[in-house]
């Protein structure tokens, strides 16, 4: 897999754990399915337990973990399933301040959308990363430089910029 952030590729800090018995194996932080969350938290400090969650998970189910989890990975079953974008928006609204990861076969053309909805990084399967190398992600995210929607992304929307220009 390849991890891409807004500034480029980044090494993976987490070990994906898909069986409870592997939880303690080493000191590296783990990324566990939501179903293992309590087992993992019983075995390790909360700051070393990241969660991987399906895109239809209700925010209420994640509420107990939002304060301490260092990272939440939202699973995208396919690039054309946009539910993860709304989940990201809701997680940020609920106060989640850790790293938000979109995990799955996204395409470079969605990078700007993912970032604007609150994701920090994308975890791509290798087959996708081979076809769409990091460079394409960097280019694609910057082609359209502004957006009309207020409340998305870190910069101001076009509507807000217009207002500022008039007041300015």
């Amino acid at each position: 897999m390849t991890l891409i952030t807004r500034t480029g590729e980044k090494p993976e800090d987490y070990r994906r754990v898909d069986a409870v018995e592997d939880l303690r194996l080493d000191e590296r932080a783990v990324l566990v399915p939501l179903a293992f969350a309590s087992a993992a938290l019983a075995a390790r400090p909360a700051a070393s337990v990241a969660l991987s969650v399906p895109n239809d998970t209700p925010v209420e189910a994640l509420q107990p973990y939002l304060a301490a989890a260092p990272l939440i990975a939202v699973e995208f079953p396919s690039f054309s399933d946009g539910r993860g974008l709304s989940l990201a928006k809701r997680l940020r609204r609920a106060g989640f301040a850790g790293t938000l990861r979109a995990s799955g076969p996204l395409i470079a053309d969605q990078f700007a959308e993912a970032l604007a909805c609150g994701f920090d990084e994308v975890e791509l399967p290798e087959t996708m990363a081979n076809r769409q190398p990091v460079q394409q992600w960097m280019e694609a995210k910057d082609i359209v430089t502004s957006h009309y929607q207020s409340g998305y992304g870190e910069d101001r929307s076009i509507l807000q910029k217009r207002l500022a220009a008039r007041k300015g």
Binding site: F79, S80, L85, R90, I107, E113, I143, Q149, L159, L163
Partner: protein, 567 residues
């Protein structure tokens, strides 16, 4: 009308660059065909039976002469010299080449136009009343709302990968000419009964297609300034919860239907309660800035009636007929709005040649404050014509072959492209429309019959709105033969209703005869002053079923039954 500022201009140019980049990445293999498809659809590019098709947005149906000239130029240079106006205030080119598309997009951007979100599972081109700003029954011009929604929905980061397409229509009038009850979201501008404050009635979950439904009111009154935050709440509930397991059940109408309107409302309101409105809604200044572009043109102060026009009408029966049929009362004294029919007898509904576009652009520029409109019944409108000028306008329209006096009549038929163009079609629709129009070509007969919206779709997807036609025609395929189902009683207005089937499907050549039989029932049943749909509502379906059955049983109908396979 609205003009792009530097932000809009840059945005549309960057969108073209983005599409160019996407085409290149498809060609070099970075994007698979499956990945490229939704990207090209979101830019209006379909792959059809014979060629690509490019759909251009005409937001809320408003154009100026310069834009229409550019559309004509593109038709000449990149198509076969014509284009097609659709039922959603879009324009389609049927024969562009993939390699030319980025250049076409540049040419559109030159005149402040685009193809953004005219297809794909996203928020589509927003549509409106063709008589916006003209109609007397209007609370407020709906187009500033349309423009705000156009901007807000363009490349929305969160709602670009919805379960299915999403269509929004806005009207500001009492009489609904924008079919808001058969849209995913319909908005009606209204005044609060007690406070007089302006806001919206919000209707969600209407739609046609294979499961037609009339939308449900989910908010009686939404204050105007809260629009975008409320839309965000509706869209988020739909994006998160709309079905993705079956594309035929993925529209918001199914979610509303399956969860029930009360529960749907509860979820939307729960989401809405968590939003921080002021951080989402358009600043009031911005709403006013947009609205200012739609200020009325500089009308002259004129008397209500024009002696010049009255005299000309007395002298020329054709002009008189045209004004009577295609004229629409204007709120400004001395002015009139004229519907310009794209349904000449025997023509292709909604098609317009490049030469006609150029001629029409000149007419709109000279006599209608450089403005024209596109209607959802595939016609055009000259919104602000001085009554004194109507004789000259009529002569110019006649010279361009655009003076057919049939707005709203039995020959003003809506038809989708059907099997002549569309990859999904099960039957032809254009030749059916042409056959009916020829049958009823006689003007006196059309006038005698009065308003009668006929709508034809070439498959169950219902692009031709057949469910809401007073007479609806649905083309299917039965044992390798085109077969047409006839419905009666549909209505797309504020009295929205879905038509009901009269009986078994019939062959293509029997359709005009069947329509005549239905019309005969109406002429026999109608009471004074009743238009077709009113007679259907009062008398019920039975007489129409009986007339239809009698037609099938008669000699002309016999072939239909012979062709019907035994079941």
């Amino acid at each position: 009308m609205y003009r792009y500022d530097e932000f809009d201009e840059r945005f549309v140019r960057e969108r073209v660059a983005q599409f160019r980049h996407q085409v290149e990445r498809r060609l070099d293999g970075s994007l698979s065909d499956d990945e490229f498809k939704p990207l090209r659809l979101k830019n209006g590019l379909y792959l059809q039976l014979h060629a690509y098709m490019l759909r251009v947005a005409i937001p809320y149906g408003t154009l100026n002469a310069r834009q229409l000239r550019q559309l004509a130029h593109i038709a000449t240079r990149f198509d076969k010299g014509y284009a097609h106006f659709t039922t959603r205030q879009n324009l389609q080119y049927n024969w562009p080449k993939l390699k030319d598309v980025p250049e076409i997009l540049d040419l559109l951007a030159d005149v402040e136009m685009h193809c953004i979100q005219t297809s794909g599972n996203c928020i589509r081109n927003v549509t409106s009343d063709q008589f916006a700003g003209v109609a007397k029954d209007e609370v407020e011009d709906p187009r500033p709302t349309g423009e705000l929604i156009r901007q807000w929905s363009s490349l929305h980061p969160e709602f670009a990968w919805l379960p299915r397409k999403f269509k929004i229509a806005v009207t500001g009038a009492e009489h609904d000419r924008a079919a808001i009850k058969v849209h995913d979201i319909g908005l009606r501008v209204l005044r609060h009964a007690e406070t007089g404050e302006v806001g919206y009635e919000v209707i969600v979950g209407g739609g046609l297609g294979r499961t037609p439904m009339i939308g449900k009111v989910i908010r009686d009154f939404l204050p105007k300034g809260e629009l975008l935050a409320y839309l965000e709440a509706v869209m988020r509930v739909y994006n998160a919860e709309g079905r993705r397991d079956n594309k035929y059940k993925a529209r918001v109408k199914i979610l509303v239907h399956e969860t029930g309107p009360e529960e749907f409302i509860r979820r939307v309101e729960a989401e809405y309660a968590q939003l921080n409105g002021p951080t989402i809604n358009a600043p009031e200044d911005e709403v006013e800035r947009i609205a200012a572009y739609f200020a009325p043109p500089p009308y002259e102060a004129l008397p209500e009636d024009s002696a010049i026009l009255d005299a000309a009408r007395r002298a020329d029966p054709a002009l008189d007929r045209f004004v009577e049929q295609n004229g629409f009362a204007h709120k400004q004294p001395g002015y009139v709005a004229l519907t310009v029919s794209l349904k000449p007898i025997g023509g292709v509904p909604g098609d317009m040649s490049d030469a006609q576009m150029l001629a029409f652009a000149d007419i709109a520029e000279r006599w209608s404050f450089d403005e024209l409109r596109v209607t959802h019944s595939q016609n055009l409108v000259l919104p602000h014509v001085r009554q004194d000028d109507v004789p000259a306008v009529f002569a110019a329209l006649q010279a361009a072959g655009l003076a057919t006096a049939n707005a709203g009549l039995v020959t003003d038929i809506i038809a989708c492209p059907g099997l002549d163009y569309c990859a999904l079609a099960t039957a032809r629709s254009i030749p059916i429309a042409q056959g009916i129009a020829r049958t009823f070509a006689d003007e006196a007969r059309q006038r005698e019959i009065g308003p009668l919206p006929i709508k034809i779709s070439g498959c169950i997807n219902a692009c031709g709105h057949h469910h809401v036609g007073a007479i609806g025609i649905l083309g299917l395929e039965k044992a390798g033969v085109e077969n047409y189902q006839i419905t009666v009683g549909g209505d797309a207005t504020e009295n929205a209703a879905l038509g009901e089937r009269l009986g078994p499907g019939i062959d293509a050549e029997d359709v005009p005869g069947a329509i005549e039989a239905i019309v005969d029932v109406y002429l026999k049943e109608r009471q004074s002053g009743e238009v077709f749909i009113e007679t259907v509502r009062r008398a019920g379906l039975e007489p129409f079923k009986a007339g239809f059955q009698a037609f099938i049983a008669s000699d002309e109908g016999a072939r239909t039954l012979a062709a019907e396979p035994a079941q």
